[in-house]
C-alpha cells in the first residue's frame, strides 16, 4: 500500500472527494449569497455570478433588527458562560476535594441532569418562566443554563488530579480556601476551562431551539432566530438574501475555527471521550 503509486493516486482522489462533500455546500452558500434573485433560478446552476452583489448582505442585515439580535446573542452566550464559571468552579471543587454527607447524592443529581436534554423539558420550563413573568426576556435564555453538569464533571476530574500536597503547602502558606481555588486550582485547570468555554459558547451562540420557545418579540430574539426569519422575507424564498444572512452567522465561527481549530476540535472531542 505504501509503495504502489496507484494507491497513492486513489488515496488522493478519495481525500479530494471527501473535502468536496464537506466544503462544496459552503462554496455554494458563498456563491449564492452574491447572486441576483434571477441567477438563483438558473438551471443548470451558475457557479460564479456575473456581478458580486454585496447589497445582499446589507439587505439581509437590514431586514430585521440584526444589531439587536447580535447584541442579544452575545449577552446570552457570554452571560451563560460567566454564570457557569461562577457555579461550576466551587461545585467542582467541593465534589473533588471535600468529604461531606450527601455528596454522592448531590453528585448523582448533577449527573442525572447531564442525561436530561433541554429539548425534553422545555414545556414545563416554559410554563415556569411564564409564571415568573420571565418569558420573552434574556433571563429565560440564560438562567436555565447558569450551571452545567458537564462542566462540573470535567472540572472535578481535573481538580482531583491536583496532588493533596499542593493544597497542604498552600494552607501552610496561610492561603484561604478561596485563594487556593483562585490562585492554584483554577490556574492549573486552565486548559480544561478554556475547552469548556469554547464548547459552551459555540453551543449557545448557535442555539435555535431554546430562543424559539422562550421568546416572542424581537427585543429578546437572538441571531439564529433572526436568520431563520429571513425565510419570510417578501413572500417567496429569496435564496440569495437567505444565504447572505447565513453567511453572516457562519463566517465568524468558521473564522475562529480556522485559527483555533486544534483547541475547538479538542474541546468537542474531549466532551466525547471524557
Amino acid at each position: 500500500m505504501k509503495k504502489n503509486p496507484l494507491w497513492k493516486v486513489l488515496n488522493g482522489i478519495g481525500l479530494l472527494i471527501l473535502i468536496t462533500i464537506f466544503a462544496l455546500p459552503f462554496v455554494w452558500m458563498i456563491s449564492t449569497s452574491f447572486k441576483t434573485l434571477g441567477e438563483t433560478m438558473v438551471f443548470p446552476p451558475k457557479w460564479i455570478p456575473d456581478t458580486l452583489l454585496w447589497e445582499n448582505f446589507s439587505k439581509a442585515w437590514n431586514s430585521g433588527p440584526f444589531l439587536k439580535y447580535f447584541f442579544n446573542s452575545t449577552i446570552v452566550a457570554l452571560g451563560i458562560l460567566v454564570l457557569q464559571f461562577l457555579t461550576i468552579i466551587p461545585a467542582a471543587y467541593a465534589f473533588a476535594r471535600y468529604k461531606f454527607k450527601g455528596s454522592n447524592f448531590f453528585f448523582g443529581v448533577t449527573m442525572v441532569t447531564l442525561m436530561i436534554p433541554t429539548q425534553l423539558i422545555f414545556l414545563p420550563v416554559y410554563l415556569q418562566m411564564s409564571a415568573w413573568g420571565l418569558l420573552d426576556s434574556l433571563w429565560a435564555l440564560i438562567l436555565p443554563f447558569a450551571s452545567s453538569a458537564f462542566g462540573i464533571f470535567l472540572l472535578r476530574q481535573s481538580f482531583k488530579q491536583v496532588p493533596e500536597e499542593l493544597l497542604e503547602a498552600a494552607r501552610l502558606d496561610q492561603a484561604s480556601e478561596w485563594q487556593i481555588i483562585m490562585r492554584i486550582m483554577v490556574p492549573m485547570a486552565k486548559p480544561v476551562l478554556i475547552t469548556f468555554a469554547m464548547f459552551s459558547f459555540i453551543a449557545h451562540w448557535n442555539d435555535y431551539f431554546w430562543p424559539l420557545v422562550m421568546t416572542t418579540t424581537d427585543a429578546s430574539r437572538t441571531l439564529p432566530l433572526g436568520i431563520s426569519k429571513l425565510r419570510e422575507v417578501d413572500g417567496g424564498v429569496a435564496w440569495n438574501i437567505l444565504m447572505a444572512g447565513n453567511l453572516i452567522l457562519v463566517v465568524p465561527i468558521l473564522f475562529v475555527f480556522f485559527f483555533a481549530q486544534r483547541q475547538i476540535i479538542r474541546a468537542f472531542v474531549y466532551t466525547g471521550v471524557k
Binding site: L15, I19, L120, W239
Partner: protein, 289 residues
C-alpha cells in the same frame, strides 16, 4: 475553615439550585401535567388520570411520529457510525493533509443548525438545487427531496449524517490513538492479517467508544427538532414529524399542554431505558478492558 461543615454545601448550592429549578422540578411538573387536561389559558387543570396516555397510544398520528422517530434515529446512528468508523481508519494518519481533511469534515459540527438546515434546503431544492443538478449529470431526474413524503425523512437523515460524521470520526480517531501501539506490533510479529487485526484487536478495543457514540447518537437523534422545524415543518403529510416536534406542536400550536407533557414523559422513559441499558452493557464491558 471558619465556615466549617457548611462550606461544601454552600459551594455546591448555586449549581444544585439551577439543576433543581430547571431540570429536576420541571420533570416532576411535566409528569404532573401528563395526568391533567389543560389548555394553558384556563385557570383549571382537570385531573384525567391515564387518559392522556391511552389517548396518545391510540392516536394514529402519534404512532406515525414514533415510527418516524425510530426510523430516523436508527438510520442516522447506524449510518453515521459505520461511515465515520471507516473514515477514522482511513484518516487516522499524521500529516498536514490529513489534519486539514479532519478539520474540513468536522466543520459542520460547529455551525448553527439553522444555517445547516437552510443550506441543505437550498441544496435539496427540487428545481434549482445543486444536489439534483449533480444527479442530472448521472442521468437521474430531479428528486423532490423535501416535498415528497417518500424521501423527506431520508433527506433529513442525510443532513444529520453529513453534520455528525466529522465529530464521530474524530472521536473514533481519538479512540484509535488510545490503543497501545505495542499490541499491533505483537500482532504483526504473529503474522496476523489486516482484517483479522481489525476484528480481533481494533474493534474490541474500540468497543467502549462505539457504545458511547451509539448511546449519545440515539439520545441526540430522539430530540431532533431544528432541521424539521426549518426544513419541513413536520410534513409533508406528517412524514417527518418526530417526538420533540410533536410536543412542540401540541404545546405551542394546539395548547394541549397535558397531551404534550404525556409525549414528553414517554420520551423521557425511552431515553431512560436506553441510558440504563448503556450503563448495564458498559458495566459488563468493564472487566473486558
Amino acid at each position: 475553615m471558619s465556615l466549617g461543615k457548611a462550606r461544601p454545601y454552600l459551594m455546591i448550592f448555586p449549581a444544585i439550585l439551577v439543576f433543581t429549578l430547571f431540570f429536576i422540578y420541571p420533570i416532576g411538573y411535566m409528569i404532573y401535567l401528563s395526568f391533567h387536561d389543560w389548555n394553558f389559558i384556563s385557570p383549571d387543570k382537570n385531573y384525567v388520570g391515564f387518559n392522556n396516555f391511552t389517548a396518545l397510544l391510540q392516536d394514529a398520528k402519534f404512532m406515525q411520529v414514533l415510527r418516524n422517530t425510530f426510523i430516523y434515529s436508527a438510520l442516522t446512528v447506524s449510518l453515521t457510525i459505520s461511515i465515520s468508523l471507516l473514515l477514522a481508519l482511513w484518516l487516522n494518519r499524521k500529516g498536514a493533509m490529513y489534519g486539514f481533511v479532519q478539520g474540513a469534515i468536522f466543520s459542520p459540527h460547529i455551525i448553527s443548525l439553522v444555517s445547516i438546515s437552510m443550506l441543505w434546503m437550498w441544496l435539496m431544492d427540487t428545481d434549482y438545487g445543486l444536489l439534483n443538478w449533480f444527479l442530472n449529470l448521472f442521468g437521474i431526474s430531479n428528486v423532490p427531496w423535501l416535498t415528497n413524503p417518500k424521501t423527506s425523512l431520508l433527506s433529513l437523515i442525510i443532513v444529520a449524517v453529513w453534520k455528525g460524521i466529522g465529530y464521530y470520526t474524530l472521536i473514533f480517531i481519538a479512540g484509535l490513538q488510545s490503543i497501545p501501539k505495542d499490541i499491533y506490533e505483537a500482532a504483526a510479529l504473529d503474522d496476523t492479517s489486516k482484517v483479522r487485526t481489525f476484528f480481533k484487536l481494533t474493534l474490541p478495543m474500540l468497543s467502549p467508544t462505539l457504545f458511547f457514540l451509539t448511546i449519545i447518537g440515539l439520545i441526540g437523534s430522539f430530540q431532533v427538532f431544528e432541521t424539521i422545524s426549518i426544513m419541513t415543518g413536520g410534513g409533508p403529510i406528517n412524514s417527518t414529524n418526530t417526538i420533540v416536534y410533536y410536543i412542540y406542536e401540541n404545546g405551542f400550536r394546539f395548547f394541549k399542554i397535558g397531551y404534550a407533557s404525556t409525549a414528553g414523559v414517554l420520551l423521557l422513559g425511552i431515553i431512560g431505558v436506553f441510558t440504563i441499558l448503556y450503563f448495564r452493557l458498559l458495566s459488563r464491558k468493564v472487566h473486558y478492558q
